[in-house]
Structures are given as structure tokens and as C-alpha cells.
């Protein structure tokens, strides 16, 4: 099992947001987690990634059998976890190039691989940018500063392509995107699908799922996964709404 989450409980500002969440994910699978506002979708993504505002009060989360909850945020990234942000942060003054190179080399160092020099890095990043249809100027700009919503998400996709994580969690990465940007995100995900890599798509809408077909759909409701199934669940959500579906 690539990701094994068992009875996960967490609070933020003393309010319980995850109340016994269970999830099993095999390598190569794409899972969608859907749910209404306030169900705990973003909380789940944040807890897995190690955001410090959240306190884990019970349960376990293992990545390839290793306890994620015991690690610092950077160690989780080094272990192969990647969070695509709902709102990617702007970092004035830090160039995208420096950021990407530092990130890649931090992860390589943790894996015992030699660091890439400027030349090797440039070659690699050009290749990935070409794959995602991104322009060169992206590298020279400060991280996400002055980027449109779509550009920020594309930048997250570039980071994902470069860091080659084992588990990618996309936290409502489709919210507020126009159709072109949404397709670009979907293209990024599809290009990176492989038997070794898994995805968790946390989403409020079914739009993204029209372009990236999930293997399993989960419904997260009041801090728990209450239903799991295939694409047919999406149709039921449309028809019944979350409240009725959760009660059924």
C-alpha cells in the first residue's frame, strides 16, 4: 500500500476537523476526494503535508509503510509526498529557478543522490517545461509573484514534474481556474501518471474529473470518508447532493 491512513483525527484551533478518516491507496492509482465546504478536504491535505497549524490527535498515516506524522514537512516532501496548493504562495525576490533548483537538490541530497549543477538543472527543467508547454521567462520571475491563477497552478505542476514525487495531493487545485488552465493541470497530471505514482485529487467540483479519470471516488463528509466507489458516485452527488448521499 502506498498510502495507508487509519482513523486519522486532527484539530485546528481546537476544532476537530478530521474525525477518524480511513483511506487506502495503491501505487499507480488516482483517487478523487469530494465533499461539501467544511467537510475537511483541505484539512486532510494539510495534515498529510505537515502544515503546523494542524494538530494530529489520533490515528496513523503511512507512506510506503513509513510514519508520515512523525516527520517535518520537508522530510515528507523528501520522502516523496507532494502537495499542490489551493493557493500557491508568492515569494518576492526568490527566483523560480533558484527555488526549483534548491528544492530539487534538497530532495536529491536526502535521497543520497549528487546535487545537480546549474547546467544539469537547466537541461532538466527545460525538458519539463517543454512537456508542460511553459515559456522560458517563467524561470526568471520571482516565485508566483504577479502570476495569474492559472500560471501559479502551472508552476505547481512544473514543481511536481521536476521533483517526481510518489504521491501527489492536489488540494482543490482546480478552484477558480478557467478551462484552459484546468486542462493544463489535467495534462500535467495525466503526463505524470505511472504505475509507481499515485494521485489524490481533492476537489469541490467534478470538472477536473472530466479530464483526469479517477480509479476511486471518495466522499468526505464531516471529517470522515463516508462513501467510496467509482465514477457513478459523481452522478449520485449531482442527483442527491452530499447531505442526502451521506445519510443514505
Amino acid at each position: 500500500m502506498l498510502l495507508h491512513v487509519e482513523n486519522l483525527q486532527a484539530t485546528v484551533a481546537d476544532k476537530a476537523v478530521l474525525k477518524g478518516l480511513n483511506l487506502q491507496l495503491k501505487a499507480g492509482e488516482v483517487h478523487a476526494i469530494m465533499g461539501p465546504n467544511g467537510a475537511g478536504k483541505s484539512s486532510f491535505a494539510s495534515v498529510l503535508a505537515g502544515r503546523e497549524d494542524y494538530a494530529v490527535t489520533g490515528g496513523a498515516a503511512l507512506l510506503n509503510g513509513i510514519d508520515l506524522l512523525d516527520m517535518e514537512a520537508e522530510e515528507r516532501a523528501q520522502a516523496g509526498l507532494f502537495l499542490a496548493f489551493q493557493y500557491p504562495v508568492e515569494i518576492p525576490g526568490v527566483s523560480n529557478k533558484l527555488f526549483l533548483q534548491t528544492a530539487l537538490n534538497s530532495i536529491r541530497a536526502a535521497q543520497g543522490l549528487p546535487e545537480l549543477d546549474m547546467f544539469e538543472f537547466s537541461q532538466l527543467v527545460q525538458e519539463k517545461m517543454k512537456m508542460l508547454g511553459m515559456r522560458q521567462e517563467f524561470l526568471e520571475r520571482a516565485v508566483n509573484v504577479g502570476f495569474s491563477g492559472g500560471e501559479k497552478k502551472r508552476n505547481d505542476m512544473l514543481q511536481m514534474a521536476l521533483l517526481e514525487p510518489k504521491l501527489c495531493i492536489l488540494d482543490e487545485t482546480d478552484s477558480g481556474l478557467d478551462i484552459d488552465a484546468l486542462k493544463a493541470v489535467a495534462q500535467g497530471v495525466n503526463a505524470m501518471r505511472s504505475p509507481e505514482r499515485s494521485f489524490v485529487l481533492v476537489t469541490h467540483y467534478q470538472r477536473l474529473l472530466e479530464y483526469v479519470a479517477p480509479d476511486v471516488v471518495h466522499i468526505l463528509y464531516q471529517g470522515r470518508i463516508v462513501k467510496s466507489g467509482g465514477m457513478e458516485l459523481i452522478a449520485q452527488i449531482e442527483e442527491l447532493g452530499y447531505d442526502a448521499l451521506a445519510a443514505a
Binding site: E52, A73, A77, F85, V89, E90, G93, L98, F99, S106
Partner: protein
């Protein structure tokens, strides 16, 4: 409190400094004009009020550590300059090096091989300052041991920068230098000032820059003296019609440093653009003071001051902008941003506007904050360790003020220096 001194101890320091400089002046064999200027300044120093915390200008910049220092005035000449190996200064243009206040020919460009249009001559003692002298400035004037007047002739565009390299080697040395840079009409030049070393010393520096019509001066300042030194500088700039002045400063050294800049805009359509990156760590006091005077139509002044402050350090900023009657269409902006790297770091910023013209656009703003947790998390979520993330963000904060330094070798050296300094702070 162990850090305070009794009033008579300040008085003793004043007497000691007076006697030290007096004795030194007696030993100099310079022309009478030079000697009389020194003695006149020393006479003022003898009776002037010493800086103290009760005075608004010195409230945050305490000089207790300076009064306790037992300074000397070394008379050594012709010492080797320990040139910073990070930079090959010689390729940078005209280099004038001074060790402990004395010109060092071995580490300087030959004065007989200067580029066309640059004239180096003796100081003109009739150039006045645009502000009242305080005690330390009187001391600086009394103890000037070397200095030059650099004239860039009309219509000369100096391609290579002029570098003034001020190094302190002798421990606890007082050194005082003065320079005058004169750009005639249509002339342009870049002047780099570097200050290094001076363990336990007092390093005093005066610079006047006068830019005639259509002239352009770029001033790049690197204050990187030893962490035990005291550094004070006064820089007076006068701009004529259509003149341009650009200053970029990286201020990282010293136990106490006060860098004061006066920009006098006396010609229409002139422009001053000043940006400062400051790092204050440990118990450092980094004090930046600017006085900008708009005296005529259509001129612009732009200022950005960025302080990264850690440890128990204090970042002090005072900036005043005076727009005189008739100086309409003035466009003056001043921004100060403080980044606090520790809970005990202090920022004291005081911007001031005084406007007597009607049709002007003047703004000032001060922000203070800590490194944004969301930014740190974003970097950590990409595998970058927390310390490194904080370093990248705080270095970028300072760097942003200095990104357009036009001398590439210096820009790169500064990038490295900023990262190295902040690294010390974050490891500590």
C-alpha cells in the same frame, strides 16, 4: 545597569578623544590651511554636547560602547592592504586604497595613469556641509588624515568605476577620510566605497558629491567593517538641473554604524534614487539617516530601505523630506521595510515629510514584520529545510533593494555577502 555611563565618564571620553586628536594634529606637518581646519573642528568638539540618549537623534543609537573604547591614531604608512580575495578589485577600474587613514600607493591605481577626464587633486576645504555638525562629525573633521578631490571633467563618461577602499588594520584605530566628487556638466561616473576591517576602531568618512547639469553619479557603498568597530559617515549630494544620482548601499558591519545621506536637489528635473539593504545582527546598531531637500520644480526622489534585523540588534531609520516653497511637481517617495528575524530584534523607523509647495506627490511608508510562515511552509513542502527556507526568504528581502546594482562583480559579491551574513544569524 552595566551599559550606562555616568555623565562624567562621557566627559572623560570627550577629553580623552580631544587630547588624542590634539596631540596627533601637533605632529602633522600639513599646510597651515589644513591644520587650521583641523584645529577649528577640534575646538568645536571640545565644547559641543556629546550625543546622549536624551537627545531625539541619539535615542536609539547609544554610543556607550564607543566612549569605553581606548582609541589610537596610528601614523603607520605604506602598509599592505589585505585585499578582499572575493573580488578582483583591480579589474574594476580606478582603485584608491587607504589603510588606517593613509593612502596606500601599492594597492592603488597609479595617480599618473588615470583615465582621461578624471582629475585627482587635494581637498577643497571651502566645501560646506548642508547640516549642523554633531560631536562625532566635529571629531571627523579634526582628524582627517587623507582624502582627495575627484573631478570628472565636462562631457566625460567614465566607463570604469572609481573605487575607494578604506581598510582598518591597526586595532582600535581612529581613522577619518574625506572625499569630494565633482561631476561637471554632462559627466558621468560610478564611485564605489568599501569599508572593511578596523577591529575595535572608529572609522569616519565624509563624502561630498556635486553633480552639475545633466551629470550622472552612481554611488555604491559597502560598509562591511569588523563587528567590533564603530562607523560613521556623512555624505552630502547636490544635484543641479537634470542631474541624476543613484545610490545603492549594503550595510552589514560594525557594532554601531550610522550612515547619513543628505541630498540637496537644487536644479529642475533632477532625480535621486536611493536604495539600502541593511543587516543588523547580534547587538549591532545599524542607523540610516537621510535628509532630502527639494528646492526646485519637477524633481524626483525615490528611496527604499530594507532592514533585516536579528538577535538583539536595532535597525534605526530616520528619513526626512523637505519640499520647499515653489518646488512644485515634486515627486518624492520613501519606503522602509523591516524584517524582524528574532523576537528580540528592534526596528525604530521615523519618516518625516515637511511640505511647503502646493502641487506635489509625496509618500512615505514603514512596514515591519517577520518572515511569513506561509512562505516558509511553501518552500518546506518542496523539500527545502526550514532554516534554508528562512534564509532564502530573508536574503531575497534584502536583495530586492539591490537587484539593479550596475556593477555585476559587486552585485554578485553582495548576493553572497547577504547570504553569508544571514546564514550566521540563522545558525546562531
Amino acid at each position: 545597569m552595566t551599559h550606562s555611563l555616568l555623565p562624567n565618564q562621557v566627559e572623560q571620553a570627550q577629553n580623552r578623544l580631544h587630547d588624542l586628536v590634539d596631540e596627533w594634529i601637533q605632529k602633522q606637518d600639513d599646510v597651515e590651511l589644513v591644520q587650521s581646519h583641523r584645529l577649528e573642528a577640534l575646538a568645536r568638539f571640545a565644547v559641543i554636547d556629546m550625543p546622549n540618549a536624551r537627545h531625539e537623534d541619539w535615542k536609539y543609537t547609544r554610543l556607550v560602547s564607543l566612549w569605553k573604547q581606548d582609541l589610537v591614531l596610528p601614523s603607520l604608512q605604506g602598509q599592505q592592504v589585505p585585499i578582499d580575495s572575493a573580488l578582483d578589485w583591480q579589474i574594476m577600474g580606478v582603485v584608491l586604497s587607504f589603510v588606517d587613514g593613509h593612502f596606500c600607493a601599492d594597492a592603488s591605481t597609479s595617480l599618473s595613469a588615470l583615465p582621461d577626464g578624471l582629475v585627482v587633486s587635494a581637498l577643497d576645504y571651502n566645501v560646506a556641509n548642508h547640516h549642523d555638525l554633531d560631536a562625532i562629525h566635529c571629531l571627523a573633521k579634526a582628524s582627517i588624515s587623507a582624502g582627495y578631490r575627484l573631478t570628472i571633467k565636462a562631457n566625460t563618461a567614465l566607463q570604469q568605476p572609481i573605487m575607494i577602499n578604506q581598510v582598518g588594520v591597526h586595532q582600535d584605530a581612529l581613522q577619518s577620510l574625506q572625499f569630494q566628487v565633482v561631476l561637471e556638466e554632462n559627466a558621468s561616473a560610478t564611485v564605489i566605497e568599501v569599508q572593511q576591517g578596523a577591529v575595535g576602531g572608529l572609522i569616519l568618512s565624509q563624502l561630498t558629491v556635486s553633480v552639475a547639469a545633466n551629470g550622472q553619479c552612481t554611488h555604491l557603498l559597502w560598509q562591511d567593517v569588523d563587528a567590533s568597530a564603530h562607523a560613521f559617515a556623512w555624505r552630502d549630494v547636490t544635484l543641479a538641473r537634470d542631474a541624476r544620482f543613484m545610490q545603492r548601499s549594503l550595510l552589514v558591519g560594525g557594532l554601531v554604524s550610522r550612515q547619513q545621506l543628505t541630498v540637496n536637489i537644487t536644479g529642475e528635473n533632477a532625480e535621486s534614487n536611493v536604495a539600502t539593504g541593511v543587516i543588523a545582527l547580534g547587538k549591532q546598531i545599524q542607523d540610516v539617516r537621510t535628509h532630502t531637500r527639494h528646492a526646485c520644480l519637477n524633481a524626483r526622489s525615490q528611496q527604499l530601505h530594507r532592514f533585516a534585523i536579528g538577535g538583539r540588534a536595532n535597525g534605526v531609520f530616520h528619513g526626512d523630506i523637505l519640499v520647499e516653497k515653489g518646488a512644485d511637481k515634486t515627486d518624492a517617495n520613501m519606503a522602509t521595510n523591516n524584517l524582524l528575524l528574532s523576537p528580540t530584534a528592534q526596528a525604530n523607523s521615523k519618516p518625516q515629510l515637511e511640505i511647503y509647495a502646493d502641487d506635489v506627490r509625496c509618500t512615505h511608508g514603514v512596514t515591519s514584520g517577520t518572515v511569513d510562515d506561509a512562505q516558509i511552509f511553501y518552500l518546506r513542502a518542496r523539500g527545502i529545510p526550514a532554516e534554508k527556507a528562512k534564509l532564502m526568504i530573508s536574503a531575497a528581502f534584502v536583495q530586492a533593494a539591490l537587484d539593479d546594482v550596475p556593477v555585476e562583480a559587486l552585485r554578485l559579491a553582495w548576493q553572497q555577502a547577504i547570504a553569508d551574513k544571514l546564514q550566521q544569524a540563522l545558525v546562531a
